[in-house]
Symmetry: D2
Subunit: 119 residues, 4 copies
């Protein structure tokens, strides 16, 4: 652990992919949502993050069952929570490419972000 | 200033309308955006805030000229800023109704929130 | 409901107070927090919102018991949720003054924002 | 580009470090701030992100000169912008360790996130 090492495209693509997931999560969770508006929110999140550097592909899905179970009985809406999100991003940095994801991990009770694949 | 006074529907409708504008602003500013994605972001903001209590009508417009002038030359996107937003909300609380707005005030150099009309 | 009416200081103070609560909520919920860091987050929220127009006084308390009950067992932290917040704001607009609050309403299962008093 | 490859600790530490920077940015930019409150905001951001997984060390500095130059002349505050932030994070994932940063790049006119060092 004494030497610093050369930074590769692979390092950078994973760093960039992480930035996107962290950004997405903390920008959009908390947004009011119900079953009728989940579609437009999904689309906006996807398009918003897609404009950032290194994003080659992104797919955002909001879990409707979780929305349904969280709807406030008085007001008929809830907030977007991290656990409702399923996100798949393909990032590219020059010659390196990686797939990363965010998905709710029921065992950890946590919206887990993960490296899925490095090309 | 010693007596407290009865709270009316009119008081509540303005309070609720204010909540919505503050929420909208601090939930969605900072979102990455460019000219191609401004439409989906507008729609998502509008629908998201519309699910909250007391919102009878809402119209959100993002100023394309301001986006254009803020696009980063290297990366081709910018962030949604308060000054880019034009928002019109009609709120209702029982018998009271009000129109409020947020729009960039060039003189104050500030995204000003304002009561437009009380019915 | 046909006539529009003159807008008073009282109308404005409630509108402004609402803006602050909506802003606070959607700016800071989602922040990672645990029992050791709740104090600095409380203080920052309080001071941040205090710089906005019309805020005469503000007190923010984060419910430690709720944090404790939400701590992820693997990672030892949780996110700030609206229901963890107790907020008291005194707002002033020229001659009008009002106290407003946000507190978790167990019956509604909702972080309720309310006008407490108009002076 | 056909084979996927084994994911290393080094890959994970950079992914995790990226997540933290993206989260920090999109959670806290937009917060109202002035010269008197910058200190408590710095401290809260630092402590908040420090509770997340893999953060070994974090230092957050908000540029006072930029705050000063952005203060609204009418209201005496501004919003925290990404370009005001200088952030240094040391992340660890098992045997891998890395330093990453966010700092305003004047040439790119952009708050640049960067891998500083991999141990």
């Amino acid at each position: 652990m004494q030497q610093n090492v050369a930074i590769t495209d692979r390092d950078n693509v994973l760093f960039e992919a992480g930035i996107k997931l962290g950004a997405l999560y903390h920008q959009f969770t908390g947004s009011p949502v119900n079953l009728k508006t989940a579609g437009s929110l999904e689309k906006a999140i996807q398009e918003s993050i897609s404009v950032q550097p290194c994003v080659e592909d992104i797919k955002v899905t909001i879990n409707r069952d979780m929305i349904r179970s969280k709807l406030n009985s008085e007001y008929g809406y809830c907030e977007l929570e991290g656990r409702m999100l399923d996100v798949r991003i393909t990032a590219r940095f020059q010659k390196a490419k990686a797939d990363v994801s965010m998905a709710f991990d029921t065992e950890l009770d946590y919206p887990l972000m993960k490296i899925e694949r490095i090309y």
